[in-house]
């Protein structure tokens, strides 16, 4: 049932529905392919990552916390490699790993069983336990989640990684402990998923503080977060929205039609700017709202391509730039050199393949992501309220474990 579903036009929605019925490995593969094809975009990525890690925690075999951490980071690595520009995958992985560490240390303290579970706080993410080779036993009794026949058969496949080979029989206490840990971690991941899904609404809750009556607000390529923010503001304020994008819109097609309709319905004027440069409009604009894909530790923002044009123009006219970003998009890493490596997108929207001469002649570079340096951002509006650049580090320290901050999900 599942394979036929997957082979036919896979989407994230279908994948998430089939998570419970599919074997773990197949689900991960499916998500990897969706990511590689860039069929999962924007805020869905965080959600999908969290779902997948939840499956990893629930379904995969692990005997101790280190194995679990390794499994989570392995899965994270595969997802991150499928979409190297999406920092948010790494963020969710770090969050989940931090969660596991928290829960594990709580358990240990509670039970005072310091030596049966490895000493977590001092261990690196790769397990120091010697791997115990041997036939892989199907310990269904201690793994309540893997009950389906398919999973039982699949286990051999997931055992490829050396860290999963552990098969030391555990004391009854430790096994119960693991069981409790599993369910606590699952609860924790569900909380993270809730946080991700509620972030947009929480951010939108600050809309009427930021947007004032009579404002002209420029939204460059409004993301769902920005859309919700504007709609929430529209419920309370009368203002004008400039919607801009660098995408070429076909004649007769109205850009952002749904958003415009909603805003207009609430009595807010919208003007779609069909322009590349935005300097011309900046004297009119009061503030610029940009949706972030990720926020780095230094305050730099990963955005849709073109946002830095808007931000730069705003800086020229001293207009505030508000970046909307859920805390889960905060990436504890500093932007490395690879942020300047831009990702190229589909060129056919700009140069038609029918134009043979152009196809031959042009090296088309349609850049889809862009790095916005921190000096162009005035406010980071998060689900925890507005923040300035100086406090980003504090927030990140609150949300990520020190051990996970340096986690690298990219191959050297």
């Amino acid at each position: 049932m599942a394979p036929s579903q997957m082979s036919y036009a896979p989407t994230l929605g279908k994948l998430l529905k089939s998570l419970n019925t599919q074997p773990l490995e197949a689900s991960i593969e499916a998500l990897v392919y969706l990511l590689k094809r860039r069929q999962v975009k924007g805020d869905d990525i965080a959600n999908a990552t969290a779902h997948m890690l939840l499956q990893v925690v629930a379904k995969s075999k692990w005997q101790n916390v280190d194995q679990l951490l390794a499994k989570v980071s392995n899965t994270g690595l595969r997802l991150a490699q499928a979409a190297p520009t999406e920092q948010v995958i790494g963020n969710v992985v770090r969050r989940v790993m931090g969660l596991i560490r928290d829960e594990a240390s709580e358990d240990r303290n509670a039970d005072e069983m310091g030596d049966s579970v490895s000493d977590l706080s001092q261990l690196p993410t790769t397990p120091t336990m010697p791997s115990r080779p041997g036939p892989t036993p199907l310990r269904a009794a201690t793994l309540p989640m893997s009950k389906s026949m398919f999973n039982l058969l699949c286990v051999t496949e997931t055992v490829q990684s050396p860290t999963t080979g552990a098969s030391t029989p555990m004391s009854q206490g430790a096994s119960a402990n693991l069981h409790a840990l599993r369910s606590e971690v699952i609860d924790g991941i569900e909380e993270i998923m809730d946080e991700i899904s509620q972030a947009d609404d929480q951010i939108a809750g600050f809309a009427d503080i930021q947007i004032h009556p009579g404002d002209y607000v420029l939204a460059y390529l409004p993301s769902p977060t920005v859309e919700r923010f504007l709609i929430k503001a529209a419920a309370k304020r009368r203002f004008t929205v400039f919607l801009a994008s660098a995408e070429r819109v076909k004649p007769g097609e109205v850009p952002h039609a749904a958003l415009r309709k909603k805003l207009n319905g609430l009595g807010v004027n919208t003007i779609s700017i069909a322009s590349n440069g935005l300097m011309a409009y900046m004297p009119r604009v009061n503030k610029v709202v940009i949706g972030a894909k990720a926020v780095y530790a230094n305050g730099g923002v990963s955005t849709e391509s073109g946002c830095s044009i808007a931000a730069r123009a705003a800086r020229e006219y001293s207009k505030p730039v508000i970046v909307l970003s859920g805390v889960y998009k905060f990436c504890p890493a500093d932007p490395s050199d690879d942020v300047t490596e831009f990702e190229q997108g589909d060129s056919s929207t700009f140069v038609d393949y029918a134009d043979g001469e152009a196809v031959d002649a042009l090296e088309v570079e349609n850049i889809v992501h862009e790095y916005l340096p921190p000096q162009y951002v005035d406010v980071y509006l998060t689900n925890l309220g507005p923040q300035t650049r100086d406090h980003l580090a504090t927030i990140m320290a609150d949300h990520y474990k020190f051990e996970d901050m340096g986690l690298s999900l990219h191959l050297p």
């Binding site: 002209y216 440069g277 300097m279 900046m282 044009i309 730069r312 123009a313 090296e363 790095y371």
Partner: protein, 464 residues
């Protein structure tokens, strides 16, 4: 003036009559600017009378001008009458003029909505009404059907106007050249009416209607404004007795020289100077397509330099695509970026930026296709030198612009809230490393302000 007085049409002739009877000493006494107010004043000192007469004369002139502009919709005979009246006035035939206007006012009044002829008004109001209010001050090109144009508009000018309105003639120099060539046709077919001289009659009665028509089709480019000023001052230089043929000959020659010097040779000189800026292994970045930039790059290539070009295009215009093809055919390596996204990345490998401009203001800022300012700003932030190429005819010596909403145009195809687009933007001079014009030599950069001073001294002492 007809539009300024708020009195009903029926009332209009009454004060006229009164005025005529009252003020015998002053010539020209008809529809006063002050409308009903004049009715009250019976006793006036001679000085006051004189002043009043002067004001009225000015008002009448203004009206006659308006009539000319508004005439397309009005009946041909009517317009002719109005013009005849105006022409007669110079000989001192006030009565004819006043009668004419007295007659024409009630007739025209209902049709004159605002200052525009009715039919044109219908067409005009339509697209403009959808412009968002905050941009309603910005002018926009519009198509005027040839049948609605003023009857005095020369066919050659008519064609040019249409081409401008449809953006077939787009950049400022192309428009300037077409305009001047059309004006040559106008001059060739001009015959001074009896009792007039070319130096007095040509500009107000023949040239101005052409200019007004062109302005209505699309706001004049600054180069056109400059050229027309030169042309008018040339006409004014003629003595009143200059024979018509001689004057016409001089004018035609003037235009030829003007086109040759300010357009043809300027292009050659600028591209030659700018080409020297391109070095071996450079990556030249440019925005959109501009004739001068294209000529410069091709010339540098012809000079045997080996370099690459990075073209940033405007997805709503796509001129850069054509440029990319042309350059590719010339054997130049071209990187093409369809929009401003990732501009920083493109600038990292660029060694210099060449920008074409539409005009340069007196404060040194550029009027250039929308997006140029963003490119210039990003380039200057990345420490890449930014060179603007511009003919001196595009320099405006009187206007100053600090933001893009002061002087701009709305794209007539994108003028509603669904899709709105300004055609130009304003690049502050601090982002420009240098401007290359036909007047400075070699690779010396001259900031725009310095060039303005130079121009003032050099060619137009009367204006400086």
């Amino acid at each position: 003036m007809a539009t300024e007085t708020t009195g009903a049409p029926a009332r209009a002739p009454a004060p006229q009559e009164k005025g005529k009877q009252q003020s015998k000493p002053a010539p020209a006494k008809e529809t006063p600017v002050t409308g009903g107010a004049t009715a009250g004043e019976q006793k006036l000192t001679p000085a006051q009378l004189k002043a009043k007469a002067k004001a009225e004369k000015a008002a009448r002139r203004a009206k006659a001008k308006e009539v000319q502009a508004a005439a397309p919709a009005a009946a041909a005979a009517d317009a002719k009458g109005g013009k005849g009246g105006k022409g007669g006035k110079q000989e001192g035939g006030q009565s004819a003029g006043s009668q004419q206007q007295g007659k024409s006012v009630p007739g025209r009044r209902p049709s004159v909505g605002g200052r525009r002829p009715s039919m044109a008004a219908v067409i005009k109001e339509d697209p403009r009404s959808s412009i968002p209010e905050c941009f309603s001050h910005v002018p926009m090109a519009k198509r005027i059907q040839t049948s609605q144009a003023h009857k005095d508009v020369h066919p050659a000018v008519l064609a040019v106007g249409q081409q401008m309105a449809t953006f077939a003639l787009k950049d400022s120099i192309a428009r300037l050249e077409a305009t001047l060539l059309a004006f040559k046709k106008v001059i060739e077919s001009y015959e001074t009416p009896k009792g007039n001289s070319l130096s007095r009659h040509f500009v107000p009665h023949v040239l101005n209607p052409q200019i007004e028509y062109l302005t209505e089709c699309r706001p004049m480019s600054f180069s056109m404004g400059n050229a027309i000023r030169f042309l008018k001052s040339q006409v004014n230089k003629f003595d009143i007795d200059t024979p018509e043929d001689e004057a016409k000959e001089t004018l035609l020659e003037f235009i030829d020289i003007f086109i040759n010097e300010r357009i043809t040779l300027a292009e050659v000189v600028i591209s030659k100077n700018a080409a020297e800026l391109i070095d071996e292994e450079d990556v030249v970045l440019t925005y959109g397509r501009h004739r001068l930039v294209e000529k410069t790059i091709l010339r540098a290539k012809a000079n045997g330099k080996k370099f690459a070009v990075s073209i940033i295009d405007d997805p709503y215009d796509q001129g850069g695509k054509e440029l990319a093809k042309t350059l590719q055919q010339a054997g130049i390596r071209v990187f093409y970026s369809p929009n401003l996204g990732g501009l920083r990345a493109h600038l990292e490998r660029a060694s210099n930026v060449l920008l074409g401009t539409e005009a340069i203001f007196a404060n040194g800022s550029l009027l250039a296709p929308a997006g140029t300012a963003d490119v210039a700003m990003a380039a200057s932030a990345a420490n890449v030198k930014v060179v603007a190429l511009c003919e001196t005819i595009n320099f405006d010596r009187e206007r100053v612009s600090v933001d893009s909403l002061t002087y701009n145009e709305i794209d007539p195809e994108r003028c509603s809230a669904e899709s709105f687009r300004l055609m130009f933007d304003n690049t502050h001079s601090k982002y420009i490393t240098g401007v290359i014009t036909e007047f400075e030599s070699g690779t010396d950069f001259a900031p725009a302000q310095a060039i303005l001073t130079l121009l003032r001294k050099r060619e137009d002492p009367t204006i400086a």
